[in-house]
Symmetry: C2
Subunit: 367 residues, 2 copies
């Protein structure tokens, strides 16, 4: 196997045609419409192409002409490499890749560093459409995507009126979880949540900040929690909510610590992701507390590691989300104008990290 040449592109469709003494159309047909010319001629074309080191029609030129790139662009909130760190994101990617593969499309990961406002990468992506995965509603990259005259599907957030979307019912899902905790008897809880805005903020999130969150999913979950607990008379103003910018177990751990220091009386820590919950779990145990006897911890997502340690959480079909997003995008032909929305089912997973809170007496004097 020898590389034809390392130098400058040697031959074009036109030069090949000239060499052969046929028209460009014929050469083009040899590649794209074999039935439009005699097998002999086609063979002659292809053979000469090999001899001249002609690599076949240039994909970019073809794209320009056909107005198809054969690729789907993916925009993520985070550094590209982050996408490979978060199991939920990896699951989503897998599903999306599956859908692309089925439709013979490539998947272009777009470098959209959230720290930078530079949206050039979005502008220069040669794609037939975009999938946007969980970005803040004021993300400049998202705005750039919306400007591109190609179909777009958003997964999770934001929820835009005109745009196809796939997601879950975040509110309903976490409400089910909240009711589970309420039934167990929890009244004093604390919350650890992911970033609520594009600017870093690590610490307590006031109710104002919560309701002003630029991440629709986080906002929906917090709102639903407040509603669920309001139903039993808990004043949400008194519920500590700790925000973390980085989505890591370390963040989850430090947030849990901060929470317990802020209000030692809480009997449960609700985390808006499994990653955060896993970190909280470690931290709580490091402090010598038992779960769930001393404190209850819950997550969200249903990643493998969570199930492995028996975390009480909400399982969402991340792979299906990716696949649904890809399908929606690649079926855009059928899009009859009105935006479509796909809501996937979630499932409460009652693990071993949630239990009934002990009474204050029990806490101090044993069961």
């Amino acid at each position: 196997m020898v590389r034809s040449t390392n130098s400058r592109r040697p031959a074009t469709l036109a030069s090949l045609a000239a060499e052969l003494g046929v028209s460009r159309t014929t050469v083009s047909n040899a590649y794209n419409r074999p039935d439009q010319l005699s097998p002999e001629l086609r063979k002659r074309v292809l053979d000469t192409a090999r001899r001249l080191g002609y690599p076949g029609p240039d994909p970019v030129a073809r794209s320009l002409r056909t107005r198809k790139a054969g690729a789907v662009g993916l925009l993520l909130t985070e550094n590209l490499s982050y996408a490979f760190r978060d199991p939920a994101a990896v699951g989503f990617l897998e599903g999306l890749a599956l859908a692309c593969e089925d439709a013979d499309h490539g998947l272009l990961l777009i470098p959209a560093n959230p720290e930078h406002e530079d949206v050039a990468a979005v502008h220069s992506a040669g794609v037939d459409g975009f999938v946007v995965y969980s970005v803040p509603d004021d993300d400049p990259h998202l705005a750039a995507v919306m400007e591109r005259p190609v179909p777009t599907v958003i997964c999770d957030q934001p929820s835009l009126p005109e745009i196809d979307r796939v997601g879950i019912d975040d509110g309903a899902a976490i409400k089910e979880l909240a009711r589970h905790l309420i039934e167990l008897g929890h009244r004093k809880i604390g919350v650890v949540c992911m970033r609520l805005a594009r600017l870093r903020n690590d610490g307590p999130a006031s109710p104002e900040r919560q309701s002003r969150a630029n991440f629709h999913v986080q906002r929906a979950r917090l709102t639903a929690l407040s509603e669920a607990f309001a139903e039993i008379g808990v004043d949400w103003e008194q519920v500590p909510v700790i925000e973390r910018f980085d989505h890591t177990t370390e963040s989850g751990g430090s947030a849990a610590a901060q929470l317990m220091e802020l209000d030692p009386e809480i009997t449960a820590i609700i985390c808006t992701s499994d990653i955060l919950a896993l970190g909280a779990l470690s931290e709580v145990r490091r402090q010598g507390r038992r779960v769930p006897q001393d404190i209850t911890i819950t997550g969200f997502d249903g990643i493998d590691d969570a199930e492995r340690v028996g975390l009480t959480t909400v399982r969402q079909p991340v792979l299906e989300k990716g696949r649904a997003a890809g399908r929606l995008l690649l079926d855009s032909a059928e899009s009859s104008g009105k935006p479509r929305e796909v809501l996937l089912e979630t499932q409460l997973v009652t693990g071993s990290t949630a239990g009934s809170p002990r009474s204050v007496e029990e806490r101090w004097f044993g069961p």
Copy 2:
């Protein structure tokens, strides 16, 4: 945020220029060379663009003109979605994504289903270069990549004389592992390896098949093992090697079972990947044998799960491999003609799954 229009592309650089009564160059400059025109004019151009719903220069047309796509293509052995299942592949992807991000390039995952011979996806990828990750030397997609007149870097396999490559010294790495087992006293071993050719084969791999393997990495490891054991007088012809096509823990488990049935006397199972080893571990334990007291098991890669369970293995820097491959490709300008090779360091990880074999007496009558 409103999508300018959902209909057909409304404006082009030319129509914008006409509308403004300026030349196309000026409009182009407004986007690409702000310093080439007055700020006022630029503003007027951009404003009119917004008004007309002009989304900025078409990326494909620009690519055609500039001969740059701003993207790197990635070719994998497996279905795209597999890449997200294998932790080693995910690590590689992360590294590669990092390198691409640094260079403001996108990463295009190319759908190259190994079951199909259809290489159209390779032909239609608008990229500035390819990274090829661990494919068999007779892969038709690889051949298609080699035909494209763009730089290419291969990671792991195959090892082609003309092409830049990044990898590890597979032979040396596994030899170190082999010597470790030899020192522990193992003489009767069995091997579980990954696929050796493009066609499915699940079962024993003869020495001929081993040396004819289309996967350079597997071949190198098997050869090195045979050499290491030859040094102490072990006849490699007698060493059972079980091949598995699918790279899963299930495969590892069934292969281990097959191995033990084939030769109940083996005291160690060397697996050529952690995934296979993890599967072997489960199977062996399921059969009631203790590791390492009853049998020794080793892996290769150093994935998180392996370290978690204390697998004796070889750690290789998967993320660094991805990053190195990306850098090599994106630095191709500096490529002075002669192919470059980057070999990364590996490290023997002595975990808790390798120990001294018990004597036959001990096996039957206890220690």
